[in-house]
């Protein structure tokens, strides 16, 4: 069975993205071990000279390193991903770089109709940056709109067709993890590029 982690893309106390990851964790427990991870206790990124990862960042980084794949669930703030998630990615890219060539699946939930479509597009572009270089599963948008009304009291998604859609994407992701591990040709280049990426004073 695969070991995955799910990253809640917000520091908010109440989050339907957290609910979505918890549902995924429960619903697919027969297919993968999924740990839901929080970013709310991470400090804000400030580009420290020593390039040391703070303890909380190191913990998250270790979990990513050990996991077979990562699911990131993002809300949408101002057409983009929340600053808290951005900050997390900045820490990871600036210090330990555990996402290089890691299989990543993106989901997202929003209160409105659009379901985080634009923040998911931003997140894809960010994960593709040379200093992150994750392997993002292509053609697999999972957008959960009207997320406040989307869940039963027991945490299950109400809409059966949405569950089916998610099941399809999730099964693909399990395969995508395997395929990604076979993609080795660019790995050394990615590592080198990421390490050489200049974080000098922007």
């Amino acid at each position: 069975m695969k070991n995955l982690i799910g990253i809640v893309g917000t520091n908010s106390d109440n989050s339907t993205n957290r609910q979505l990851l918890q549902f995924i964790q429960k619903h697919f427990s027969g297919k993968a071990n999924i740990e839901v991870c929080e970013i709310k206790d991470l400090p804000g990124f400030n580009k420290p000279k020593d390039r040391e990862a703070p303890v909380e960042v190191q913990k998250l980084s270790d979990k990513i390193e050990e996991a077979d794949g990562v699911i990131i669930s993002t809300p949408e703030y101002n057409h983009s991903v929340p600053a808290a998630l951005k900050s997390t990615l900045e820490w990871l890219s600036y210090t330990t770089q555990p996402l290089i060539d890691k299989a990543v699946m993106i989901t997202g939930a929003s209160y409105g109709r659009l379901g985080s479509s634009r923040s998911q597009a931003h997140l894809r572009q960010m994960l593709d940056a040379p200093e992150l270089k994750a392997r993002i599963m292509p053609s697999s948008e999972f957008l959960l709109g009207f997320s406040l009304q989307a869940f039963e009291e027991n945490g299950d998604l109400k809409d059966k067709s949405k569950i089916e859609e998610l099941e399809g994407i999730f099964d693909d992701f399990i395969q995508f993890v395997d395929i990604t591990n076979q993609l080795v040709n660019a790995k050394s280049t990615h590592k080198k590029q990421a390490q050489q990426f200049s974080w000098e004073d922007h």
Binding site: N78, A84, K86, S87, L89, S93, L127, D201, H202
Partner: protein, 396 residues
């Protein structure tokens, strides 16, 4: 014009901060830039509302009071830094100071990209309904390989880059004016933005590369153009005079004459009396200034209205009477359009005079009298006059 510059990074050293400081210093004649840092802004968290903290309220107030905002962003992971993102989240959560605010984006980066991708993200973010800024299109200023871009005095080394930046800044000033017009309520109370009173553009006759605000603009411009003076003959329509003769001729005109060109630059007045002895005060060192520098800000709307009447051909002359000189003077300011043979607007001939001696003389000669009631001898083309601000006509 008041501009707030926001440093899009919370790092101790930032080339984007350097870039904003350079803009503030280099273009201080055009805009008044205050550079603000965001390092002390806490990470946005909707479960822990800190909108009322001093640091966020300070940003809020400064942005609200500004005519426009310049944001300088680095690029982290193909996007803007979380620190800047967090600021924009605070400024779109409970408060919305950027709503309708003209914004210009610049960016510097260590690599060749010059923050190209983060600038695109920033545009989309600023366009979100909660932020709702009005971002200037085009005029992308991308400063790549920034570690090589500045000299020891922290000025941009490359002349062409600086020139392009100046073009962008001047366009931003115009953009702010356009946005203001767009946001004016029906019936537009403030017309100041209909004219480029800061003379940021140029026309064929504009004498370039001399600071319009310099006290010795005339001397510098004369040297640069090798201007004729003294006994040099000048051919006119119709006749020939020396420059001295033209000067004395204009000095003998029974009015204070002023010429401002179609770029709204004050180019000439028939300097005969010192400011305190004039009906409409002028000082020799003002010549060369943009019209914005020659009027108080509250008069801008009226000045722009007058110029618009002339520029668009709606009127050939706009007059106002200024009763503040007391009952023994009938002071009239006339703004006469100067046009070429094809009718193109070239500028304003403003002539100011006290017409009372003429009226008195005429009445005496003809045995007539001024009577009350319907006669209003001194008001000309318009009665919508603001007598306090002098060179002005107000909208209702």
């Amino acid at each position: 014009m008041k501009i707030v510059g926001i440093v899009g990074s919370n790092a101790d050293f930032s080339y984007n901060r350097l870039l904003l400081n350079f803009i503030a210093k280099k273009f201080d004649k055009l805009i008044d830039v205050e550079v603000l840092d965001i390092a002390d802004v806490p990470m946005f968290n909707q479960s822990n509302d800190q909108t009322n903290s001093d640091v966020i309220q300070n940003l809020n107030k400064k942005i609200l009071a500004a005519d426009g905002v310049i944001i300088a962003t680095p690029e982290y992971n193909h996007s803007i830094p979380s620190a800047l993102q967090s600021v924009l989240e605070w400024l779109s959560f409970k408060i919305h100071p950027l709503d309708g605010k003209p914004v210009m984006i610049v960016g510097a980066s260590y690599d060749v990209q010059g923050s190209s991708r983060s600038q695109l993200h920033l545009r989309q973010i600023l366009d979100a309904p909660g932020v709702n800024a009005v971002v200037m299109p085009g005029n992308e200023f991308l400063l790549g390989e920034v570690h090589k871009a500045f000299d020891q005095e922290r000025n941009l080394k490359d002349k062409e880059t600086t020139q392009f930046l100046e073009t962008c800044i001047k366009k931003f000033i115009r953009f702010i004016n356009v946005v203001n017009v767009m946001h004016s309520p029906e019936g537009m109370k403030d017309l100041s933005s209909t004219e480029d009173l800061y003379a940021t553009g140029s026309i064929d006759t504009t004498i370039k590369d001399i600071n319009m605000l310099d006290d010795d603009w005339v001397e510098q411009a004369a040297e640069k153009t090798n201007a004729a003076d003294g006994n040099t003959y000048v051919k006119l329509n119709r006749g020939i005079l020396t420059v001295d003769q033209i000067n004395y001729f204009l000095d003998s005109m029974p009015a204070e004459l002023t010429f401002a060109d179609s770029n709204n630059q004050f180019l000439y007045y028939n300097y005969k009396y010192e400011a305190e002895d004039m009906l409409a005060a002028r000082r020799p060192e003002q010549v060369g200034n943009p019209l914005a520098e020659c009027h108080p800000e509250r008069a801008y709307s009226s000045v722009a209205w007058v110029i618009q009447q002339l520029r668009t051909g709606k009127e050939d002359v706009v007059r106002t009477h200024v009763p503040t000189h007391g009952p023994d003077k009938f002071v009239v300011h006339s703004y006469q359009a100067v046009r070429d043979d094809d009718g193109n607007y070239l500028g304003i001939n403003e002539y100011v005079r006290d017409i009372k001696p003429i009226i008195d003389w005429y009445l005496e000669q003809t045995g007539q009298q001024l009577t009350g009631g319907g006669v209003d001898a001194v008001s000309g083309a318009t009665s919508k006059v603001d007598s306090v601000s002098g060179a002005t006509v107000k909208d209702n």
